[in-house]
């Protein structure tokens, strides 16, 4: 797939930012996504090539504008729906529920 991920040789990105090389995770949610991908993936819903394909298939604008671990999250959601493990309605309902819980806590 000639997607945004296949960026070898592209100009304009600037030098690689090596300031935070020691930090594997920049936020707690990234750790959670890392664990989630492994735990969910261990059930055999997808192979490694399928999850990569799901990441690569994101719209280039989206792919380039989000942090690395959001690629993982987005690919996981896409595959879980494609593999009919969850439905888009269930994902949307879960997001709504979590958003409401967070707002309830903050209120």
């Amino acid at each position: 797939m000639n997607g945004a991920h296949d960026c070898g040789g592209m100009h304009g990105f600037g030098p690689i930012d090596r300031c935070h090389e020691d930090e594997i995770f920049h936020a707690a949610w990234e750790q959670r996504v890392f664990g989630l991908l492994w735990a969910v993936g261990a059930h055999g819903f997808w192979n490694i090539d399928e999850i990569r394909q799901a990441m690569e298939g994101m719209h280039p604008n989206h792919y380039l504008s989000i942090p690395y671990f959001e690629h993982w999250l987005s690919a996981m959601e896409r595959l879980l729906v494609e593999k009919e493990v969850v439905t888009t309605a269930e994902l949307a309902a879960a997001r709504t529920r979590v958003t409401q819980e967070v707002h309830h806590v903050d209120a």
Binding site: M1, N2, D6, G8, G9, W38, A42, N47, I48, D49, E50, R52, Q53, E56
Partner: protein, 119 residues
Amino acid sequence: MLTPDRVPEIIRDGFSLKLDEIVASKFVVGQEIITKNIHPAGHTRLPLYARSKRGTIMMHHGVFPFPDSSAAGAGPNPQNVYCVRFSAPEIWGDNTHPLDAIYLDLWDDYLLSLKELPR
């Protein structure tokens, strides 16, 4: 099956997808090849910058599932993987050093022998 006790070791050491199967190699170490001009809609591990490029087989890694096939749900289609050396001028053009090189791990189905050069 992945169990919790195996997770720290896998995170630390990684894991290999190498297969025990033997598949007849299409190429040999030292052979010159040219990469195919493929543009699959799905996943591939042949980067855009390395298509229709001449290189040399440096090492034979063994047999692995073919990612293009695996990603499409078409099964592993096991193939040989080679480390292929491409000179910097071949990939990035004249404003490069002739001794610089890129090494890519590539599958049988990405490669053509020079006898098979497309017209």
